[in-house]
């Protein structure tokens, strides 16, 4: 295999993995198939963590059902643009073949997101199902 082919394969590999994930989510909706990983917090305590419903929300988004995605996990849908941006920066570093270091985000920003996630977990478990 030529050097150029290896470089192309390396560049395409993460995109191919993401595309496979999209195909799996569309072909096997998480609400109908049970082979997806289960949330350990929900399994043990029957309490919804901030991430519960993420895969179902992503599957709904991929089908264009935005309202349903928000209902399943509003936090995931809200944070998705940030996550995609962060993944894009990681991918660009990967393409440059530098020694990989995670893009630095401000500690205050990370703690703020963590606080929002914890607040979201509290509210979604309140009686009445706020989220």
């Amino acid at each position: 295999m030529s050097v150029r082919a290896v470089a192309v394969a390396r560049a395409v590999a993460p995109v191919a993995v993401a595309a496979c994930a999209v195909v799996v989510l569309l072909r096997f909706p998480p609400g109908q198939y049970g082979f997806y990983p289960k949330c350990p917090v929900y399994e043990m305590f029957h309490v919804e963590c901030p991430g519960c419903g993420t895969m179902r929300a992503l599957a709904a988004l991929l089908r264009g059902h935005v309202a349903e995605a928000f209902r399943l996990n509003a936090l995931t849908v809200s944070m998705l643009p940030l996550a995609i941006g962060y993944a894009g920066v990681c991918y660009r570093r990967y393409l440059r073949r530098e020694t990989f270091r995670w893009p630095q985000v401000s500690a205050a920003g990370v703690y703020a997101v963590l606080a929002v996630a914890l607040g979201f977990a509290v509210f979604r478990n309140l009686p009445g199902g706020w989220f």
Binding site: P37, K38, C49, G51, V89, W102, Q104, V110, L114, A117
Partner: protein, 221 residues
Amino acid sequence: MYYHVTRNGQTYGPYTLEDLQRYVASGNILATDLAKSDEGAEWVQVGQLLGGAFVQGYPAPPAYAAAPGAATENPPNLHWALELLLGIFTCGLFVVVWNLVLAAWAKRIEPMSQALMYYIIATVLIVVNSGSSFGVMIAIAHHQQPHQHVVGGLIGLAAWVVRLIARFVLRDTLEQHYNGPEPLGLRLSAVMTFFFGGIYFQYKLNEINAVKQGIAYRSAI
């Protein structure tokens, strides 16, 4: 915008432009050091980046002291809270993978460490337990609700036991390294190791990175 600074093969940062100006003014960063923005592709001299105001009057950069021993690779720089968030949104899968990354790095700095082996065994057991048993696969293929078999329960228990062993082996490895070849006085709580494992280690490694960065700068000036 954030900038990284490199000197003699070591990269530091990120810093804001204001940080760079302050550090150049204090002499911690030299105008002749190379810097690059997060978005930029090219390294340029810090003085050039700051508009040439600091290029004059600074001596050539001094050489770093040689690292004590070869195995001083910096720890992975992922923020512990980001690891926790990624773990939450991936049902814990990211944490499982990140534990392998940490153990592989520990193996590079302490080649005798067995932590990677235990983490690999634990990961295999987790994967086996989380749905690839024949019964579950057959039930899924026949559109039936899979039921947990007693063997699956035992595998799950074994996965937790091996995972705990891996955590404490990695704890020993880290303490051994950061009180031996790199004497930074690392102490890891057994209780925190038991409950939080890799996330706790990453929190401590974030501190180690910060300390090493400070030491490197002080020794460079």
